[in-house]
């Protein structure tokens, strides 16, 4: 069976900083994401637009960081959950044939 890592201590400070970035790490994540966007879309933003994208990136990162204050168990599933697809008409056909 798969081991449950929930509640296990952080392996080191670096791991915590990746999932819960603060200070210089937070700034580095923001700048890395901005760099990725600018690399994908070179020359698309002027200075004012770049500043706004940076602000938006910081906001998104801070939102996600605040979500991490909620303790979640390994078994806490996302909602909505995946529902395997099955065409309705096939089921109806099977019912009719049975």
């Amino acid at each position: 069976m798969t081991g449950n890592r929930q509640g296990a201590p952080a392996i080191d400070g670096t791991l915590q900083q990746v999932t819960n970035p603060t200070g210089v790490v937070r700034d580095a994540v923001i700048e890395a994401r901005l760099a990725a966007i600018e690399a994908a879309y070179p020359g698309r933003f002027d200075d004012e637009q770049r500043a706004r994208v940076r602000t938006n990136l910081a906001h998104a990162l801070d939102l996600a960081t605040r979500l991490r204050r909620v303790p979640l168990a390994n078994s806490d599933e996302p909602d909505p959950t995946f529902v395997p697809y099955r065409a309705t008409h096939e089921l109806e056909t099977e019912v009719a044939q049975s």
């Binding site: 994401r33 698309r44 994208v53 906001h59 939102l63 996600a64 979500l67 991490r68 909602d79």
Partner: protein, 463 residues
């Protein structure tokens, strides 16, 4: 024929009676509201397109059917407007955005089809904030149709993103409209324009043919003058008629149970609110106290706001990935929208999944909280409509919806009804939110409130 009746501000119920009494006709109603749309509707920037030819054809068909005794129900022959993110066959569907001004779909959205089957008459596509506000706009002027103007003051904002739907109903340019809400886009313009707006349970109304901003948060619902009108419209557009409002055994009669309703009151709901909002809310609670027991409650201590933001960021960026990548967003009206959602493209999947996991916790916690109650009540917004000029980012923080994040993240139904006036003679709203699929219950409470107040009958002077 109808000189003694103000058609512009009649409810759907009242118009239905006039039609069946032979005091008006579907064609007369269509002509009347087409004229209102071309005048007051245009003045408010509430109109994306007037659908005159279609409306007159549908009205003529309704006229023949009603005369022949074929009655499709309470919406038969009633004009309405659809938010311009709902696909309409052969008619432009612009999503409020200049880059999509020439977009035309081959088929109607499911909700438009249901209303056609109910005999309603489509008179207009109604203006909206570009791309339903998903790109982060922070000013009223964020639509190719211009800033949505408030029906009570053209110098105030109509709210968004269903701006035209809210203003057009309030100004008597349509008897009802269809709006959509991902986070506040029905309840906000309804409250800011002094009308009723119902956000159904997520999935209650089909999203097929509607612009997707956030697949797991988008809801489609009615905007009208009364809770009763909203109930009749929901009954017509609900995806599953077997569980529709009227079929649940919770018909919104407006009659409280023998021992009264049980209402939860959101603790601290007026913290930071404008004084008039607070006063109107307290007055509304006095009214409700005659028909309900009231108990203060707190929302579960969970980051609903943050989770809702993350879900919309991730799903919005995915829904518009090609649009963003192509650079076409540069053609949007609001400068802030032109660089919006790039942050969603770099959002880690674990952040999105964490938000969805918190949604599950929140849904369970809210359901448990609301189980003993008919509804939770709060001011819809903590302020009146902001000025048409300038930005409102700061106001959203202080005067935004009290129940909006939790209710929208977890897909719960809510209705707002007018409960008074505030600064500048602008309207305030009262929101009732219920458990999932409890539309009938919150509509009953809202109807009971409206039968004991007259805010929904207040008219514009120029009406």
């Amino acid at each position: 024929m109808t000189a003694s009746v103000n058609l512009s501000f009649a409810t759907v119920e009242e118009l239905g009676r006039l039609l069946r009494d032979g005091r008006t006709t579907p064609t007369e109603l269509a002509e009347h509201f087409l004229s209102r749309l071309e005048t007051v509707g245009r003045d408010l920037n509430a109109v994306a397109a007037v659908t005159r030819d279609l409306a007159l054809a549908q009205a003529a068909e309704a006229e023949v059917e009603l005369a022949a005794g074929r009655d499709r129900g309470p919406l038969h022959g009633i004009p309405y407007g659809a938010k311009d993110l709902l696909a309409t066959s052969g008619i432009p569907t612009t999503w409020g955005a200049a880059p999509f001004k020439d977009q035309v779909f081959a088929e109607d959205a499911a909700v438009v089809g249901r209303l056609r089957e109910a005999g309603a008459v489509l008179v207009a596509k109604l203006a909206m904030v570009e791309l339903a506000g998903g790109f982060g706009y922070d000013q009223p002027d964020a639509a190719w149709t211009g800033p949505g103007r408030n029906a009570w003051s053209t110098e105030a904002w109509a709210g968004g993103s269903s701006s035209g739907s809210g203003a057009a109903v309030a100004a008597g340019a349509v008897p009802f409209a269809i709006g959509s809400e991902t986070w506040g886009s029905i309840t906000t313009p309804a409250a800011l324009n002094g009308i009723a707006g119902l956000r159904p349970t997520y999935g209650r109304v089909s999203r097929a043919g509607a612009m997707a901003l956030s697949w797991s948060m988008d809801k489609i619902g009615p905007m009208a003058r009364t809770a009763m009108d909203c109930a009749m419209i929901l009954d017509a557009i609900s995806e599953d008629p077997a569980t529709a409002v009227m079929g649940e055994g919770i018909s919104p009669s407006g009659v409280p149970p023998a021992d009264g309703f049980r209402l939860a009151v959101l603790r601290g709901a007026t913290d930071g609110a404008q004084p008039a909002v607070r006063a109107n809310f307290e007055t509304a609670l006095d009214v409700l106290a005659h028909i309900a027991t009231l108990e203060e409650v707190d929302l579960p201590d969970l980051p609903f706001d943050e989770a809702a933001h993350i879900v919309i960021l991730a799903e919005g960026a995915a829904a518009f990935e090609e649009f963003i990548e192509s650079g076409a967003a540069a053609g949007l009206t609001a400068p802030e929208d032109r660089v919006g959602l790039y942050e969603g493209l770099t959002l880690p999947a674990v952040d999105y999944l964490r938000a969805l996991r918190i949604r599950r916790l929140g849904g369970k916690a809210l359901d448990s909280l609301l189980a003993p109650f008919d509804a939770i009540v709060a001011p819809t917004l903590r302020g009146v409509a902001p000025p048409i000029a300038g930005t409102f980012a700061a106001l959203v923080e202080t005067h935004g919806p009290a129940l909006g994040a939790a209710g929208n993240l977890c897909g719960l139904p809510a209705i707002t009804v007018p409960n008074g006036f505030g600064d500048g003679g602008l309207t305030t709203g009262l929101e009732f939110m219920g458990r999932a699929y409890d539309e009938g219950r919150i509509l009953t409470v809202a109807r009971a409130y409206q039968e004991r107040t007259d805010w929904h009958t207040r008219r514009l002077v120029q009406g």
